[in-house]
Symmetry: none
Subunit: 173 residues, 2 copies
DNA sequence: GCAAATTAATGATTTATTCAAG
DNA sequence: CTTGAATAAATCATTAATTTGC
């Protein structure tokens, strides 16, 4: 683990608030969880023991509306928007499912990474996204994910490399 | 990555002293609560082209601006008002430390969990938060975290339990 | 009966793993 | 195979219970 703390200093309580404003798609589920009408099915919230006769104002919200029939994590990744409020014109990428960074973006990101940045916080991400947005469509979450993945993968490579070096002495000829 | 909860004109004002959160934060990517002005997150076609007339060519913007050494800004957590308890005792102070759920909130959450909900998405969380907000201050990220933690800890218990049972089976008979 | 110290519980963050698109 | 995206696991950090001493 990294964090760079918890190694002796017992007063180290400083932690940087990194992630923050990543935006994510809602992955609208198939079920319509309309919040318009809720069925007053719930009888009442049986609170533990109420010494007061205060009737808990049971919210008329239907639990079923929340509970997803299937916890399948494979929601339709359709690029649709059930509630297109701000339908901006789509860029030149049709089925744009995921961010495909441009060279400029990658370059800048790597530059930042090499510069020492590992987990930018909301503020940083905001700026990075703003800058990278000039070179192509990008969102804050993309920046966040990129750093996460890049860091993780660099470590993987490092690890593999390290192992490889040890073994690499006989084969590989 | 989350944002505030609320639906409404809830003033998202953070009383953070030094936290420096420009906005509410969230950690896991899965939520998408729209900001006041930001759209509720379009799945992917939501790129508001921020076309500023700023002709700032900005080279590669200052990397340093982003890369912030930890030592640079380490605002003391502060918030240690141990004996400072003369006025704010309500749970309405956002500048609090962390969410401490009420029994009602826990009850509803457990109810939902038992109902089968595991990883509610933004939409669900939005509603849950709205409802739970009636019983006490709460944010969307709290709901998200709760489910994450609860699920994980239930599994831990299950695992431990399972192991215990396995051992018992041997000498059982 | 209260307060400091300790423990237990759990909210919040970070990291590792996995999944899926290209 | 590469890699963005998502999830789960592990960990940290803080708060509430509980214990201990006066």
């Amino acid at each position: 683990m990294y964090m760079g703390s918890s190694s002796g200093s017992l007063s180290m309580k400083v932690h940087q608030f990194t992630r923050g404003f990543l935006e994510h798609e809602a992955a609208s589920p198939s079920l319509t969880l309309g919040c318009k009408r809720l069925r007053p099915l719930a009888p009442k919230l049986n609170t533990t023991n109420n010494d007061t006769t205060t009737t808990i104002v049971t919210p008329p919200f239907d639990l079923k509306s929340f509970i997803r029939p299937e916890s399948s994590n494979s929601p339709p990744k359709l690029a649709y928007n059930e509630d297109k409020k701000d339908s901006s014109q789509v860029e030149s990428h049709p089925g744009g499912t995921r961010w495909n960074p441009t060279q400029e973006q990658i370059g800048i990101l790597e530059m930042l990474y090499r510069g020492g940045m590992r987990t930018p916080n909301a503020q940083q991400i905001e700026q990075i996204t703003a800058q990278l947005g000039k070179y192509g469509k990008i969102e804050g979450k993309n920046v966040f994910y990129w750093f996460q993945n890049h860091k993780a993968r660099e470590r993987q490579k490092q690890k593999r490399n390290s192992l490889g070096l040890s073994q690499r002495r006989s084969s590989e000829g």
